[in-house]
């Protein structure tokens, strides 16, 4: 993913962008923390793998360049409202059930809400079906955790690239244009 810093193009993986706390282009601070917390409960490791940076970057892309799996699932561009409305509904559910935002929930509280998302059991959910959002966010999180060379290698599956993905997926590297 390419960020302009000091007039230079900086190519970062989602994980590196997360570590560097690169500014988000689409998602608000609350949306970022909600997405990270939800995805971490669904796919452990996705926060540090840069789930928020990955999603935010793709939401800012032109639709035909966006690399979100939601493209395959009937999502129509622009994709941001789907994510943001879902995150707003999730935030609302956390407030109603536990009187605090999702990012401040305990692990068991977060798991409880994720379980409810998976089964569409959250009352008065005001976005795309919660189970569908769960599916999409789980897929996004699996992308950043298992869809990279390091992620594949970590579970014991050799990556075996023909053409190694460009730096935006595999390694943090500065590129001065």
């Amino acid at each position: 993913m390419t960020y302009m810093v000091g007039g230079k193009a900086l190519l970062l993986t989602p994980a590196a962008a997360h570590a560097a706390q690169m500014p988000m282009k689409v998602l608000s601070a609350l949306e970022v923390t909600s997405l990270e917390t939800i995805c971490e409960a669904i796919v452990p490791g996705s926060r540090s793998a840069g789930i928020a940076a990955f999603v935010d970057y793709q939401l800012a892309e032109k639709p035909h360049n966006a690399l979100l799996m939601g493209r395959y699932l009937g999502l129509e561009p622009p994709f941001a409202p789907f994510y943001q409305q879902g995150l707003a509904a999730a935030h609302e559910a956390a407030l109603k059930q536990f009187d605090r935002p999702w990012s401040q929930l305990t692990e068991s509280q977060s798991k409880s809400l994720v379980d409810q998302m998976f089964t569409d059991a959250i009352p008065n959910w005001s976005a795309a079906p919660a189970s569908f959002l769960f599916f999409v966010w789980r897929a996004d999180a699996c992308d950043v955790v298992y869809g990279t060379q390091s992620g594949s290698d970590a579970i014991g599956m050799p990556y075996m690239a023909h053409i190694a993905p460009s730096d935006k997926w595999l390694s943090a590297k500065e590129l001065q244009k």
């Binding site: 493209r71 395959y72 869809g147 579970i155």
Partner: protein, 522 residues
């Protein structure tokens, strides 16, 4: 948006869409001395763009105007279509199978759907010629269900552990399997290298082992002088005063400027949905219901193979990342019998698909019920012991499954395509019957855990069907529109029925018939 119209050069042959069919027609036309222009809606793609990543692979899929989808079995246009040089064939899995003799006469033999205006014998020599040109690896003798035809030019690709493990289940139930015929080189072929078996077909093969248009017919087309314009969205076909002759097309470039290009022959090869969209949008006083639509059949008989994965874990190590995405083995034991009572249609198994951890067909996606702390242990186990195979069923051609124009518009002000596709009870029963058998196979193979995916749409066909009767079809057996003398349609949209085999080999064979007819009459 710019509204001025730029009138440009005239070509002998104008081709809309740079996928499998358009590329082949372009190559053959320039070799016959014709001037050729290809208009492609998507961007330029090169082999060096084809990074080995399921994430990067998504850029190869449809990225044009949204396609509306409805029905109980939506067509999955975004996954099944391509966008850019090579079209959907750039990310196809190269499972090149022939239709069978019994696929051509559904209406006359079963009272279902439509008949083709040709039979297998008409198409066989074209299959033979295409496989000699593009290359297929397989074992024709082992395919006991295979219709008559020349043996494959290359030996079959190797079978890896996943295939060997699942094969035992078929054998225990008395079912046959053969190597899967793939347009992937098992040995160097015509200057193209052989496969490395690392399972990145979906991301596009950059080494030339898989017969995608970037290494088959587009190089021939460009060597012969064909031109291509990317980011060019065709809006309508133009015609002369009589309405019987297409004179060219109108298209929008990426900046929204409108252009008109003239040609002696016009070929629409923009895939099933967009071909119909262009025709329906080409209304005029001579063609008030859209071009080539005096029969009211443009858009109708939209088809997609109902497909479903059977998946499982085995005690044995499966090395599921190895091989081709399309699979390693084939079973068509239930192909010959279409009329199964409550169920109708042929089906086949594509067995032991190379699998990655993520993405739509990846390990993780098939088990959305596993999450949280349980996910990583599952992924580690599955990385070593996962297996899957794909049920591919025949769709029944139904007139009400169709492409129409939406009230909504794209960035150029053109109506979006609206698609409706449902499967009937007999097709649903076919899927249920087949998948039940597939689970039995996995259990017989010793799967310690078995699950199935949802029923999904695989491949797009129909919408501009060929036929002998101009009142019941859009084009003739060569793809020439009944209503216009020099407007041809190429690609899977002309299929009157789907069979249960992957369509790309047939697309090539039909396109070869089309271009040779076109050249003979021009």
């Amino acid at each position: 948006m710019m509204q001025s119209i730029s009138l440009e050069d005239k070509f002998d042959v104008l081709i809309v869409g740079a996928g499998a069919a358009g590329s082949l027609i372009a190559a053959k036309a320039v070799q016959a001395g014709k001037t050729v222009l290809i208009l492609e809606a998507g961007p330029e793609r090169k082999l060096s763009d084809l990074e080995s990543s399921q994430i990067s692979a998504r850029k190869l899929k449809w990225g044009g105007a949204p396609v509306e989808e409805s029905g109980n079995h939506k067509i999955g246009n975004s996954f099944n279509s391509g966008y850019g040089t090579g079209g959907s064939a750039l990310h196809h899995y190269a499972v090149w199978l022939r239709l069978h003799e019994n696929d051509f006469n559904l209406a006359s033999e079963h009272g279902v759907g439509l008949d083709w205006p040709i039979n297998y014998k008409d198409l066989m020599p074209y299959y033979d010629r295409i496989q000699a040109e593009a290359g297929i690896s397989g074992d024709a003798e082992a395919e006991k269900w295979r219709p008559e035809g020349a043996a494959y030019p290359m030996p079959a690709l190797p079978v890896f552990a996943q295939g060997e493990v699942i094969k035992k289940g078929f054998n225990k139930l008395g079912m046959a399997v053969s190597p899967l015929p793939l347009a992937i080189n098992s040995q160097p072929f015509k200057g193209r290298s052989s496969c490395l078996y690392d399972g990145w077909c979906d991301a596009g093969c950059p080494i030339g082992a898989l017969a995608n248009p970037l290494v088959t017919y587009l190089p021939q087309a460009f060597a012969g002088g064909a031109s291509i314009r990317h980011d060019s969205t065709v809006s309508r076909v133009l015609h002369d005063a009589s309405g019987r002759k297409a004179t060219g097309v109108e298209y929008f470039d990426a900046q929204g400027a409108v252009h008109q290009v003239l040609a002696e022959q016009v070929v629409l090869s923009a895939f099933a949905v967009q071909n119909a969209r262009i025709l329906l949008n080409s209304k005029s006083s001579k063609h008030p219901a859209g071009m080539a639509n005096s029969s009211d059949k443009v858009g109708r008989y939209l088809m997609t193979h109902p497909a479903q994965l059977v998946l499982g874990l085995f005690d044995q190590q499966t090395d599921c990342h190895l091989g081709a995405t399309g699979g390693q083995l084939l079973c068509q034991d239930d192909y010959a019998n279409k009329d199964k009572g409550d169920a109708f249609g042929s089906y086949q198994w594509l067995i032991a698909n190379a699998t990655k951890p993520n993405d739509l067909l990846g390990i993780a996606t098939g088990r959305a019920d596993i999450y949280g702390a349980a996910l990583d242990p599952f992924m580690r186990r599955a990385a070593k012991h996962f297996g899957q195979m794909n049920f591919v069923g025949e769709d029944t051609p139904l007139a009400d499954n169709r492409i129409t124009l939406s009230e909504r518009k794209d960035q150029f002000g053109l109506p979006l395509a609206a698609t409706h596709h449902s499967i009937n009870e007999r097709t649903r029963a076919l899927v249920t019957e087949g998948v039940k058998k597939g689970v039995e196979v996995f259990k017989a193979a010793g799967a310690t855990e078995t699950w199935t995916g949802p029923t999904v749409a695989m491949h797009l066909m129909g919408g501009t069907v060929m036929g002998a009767d101009a009142k019941e079809s859009v084009c003739d057996q060569y793809g020439r529109c009944h209503d216009l003398d020099n407007l041809y349609i190429a690609g899977p949209g002309v299929f009157p029925s789907s069979g249960a085999v992957n369509p790309t080999f047939t697309v090539h064979a039909l396109a070869l018939r089309t271009v040779e007819k076109m050249l003979a009459t021009s």
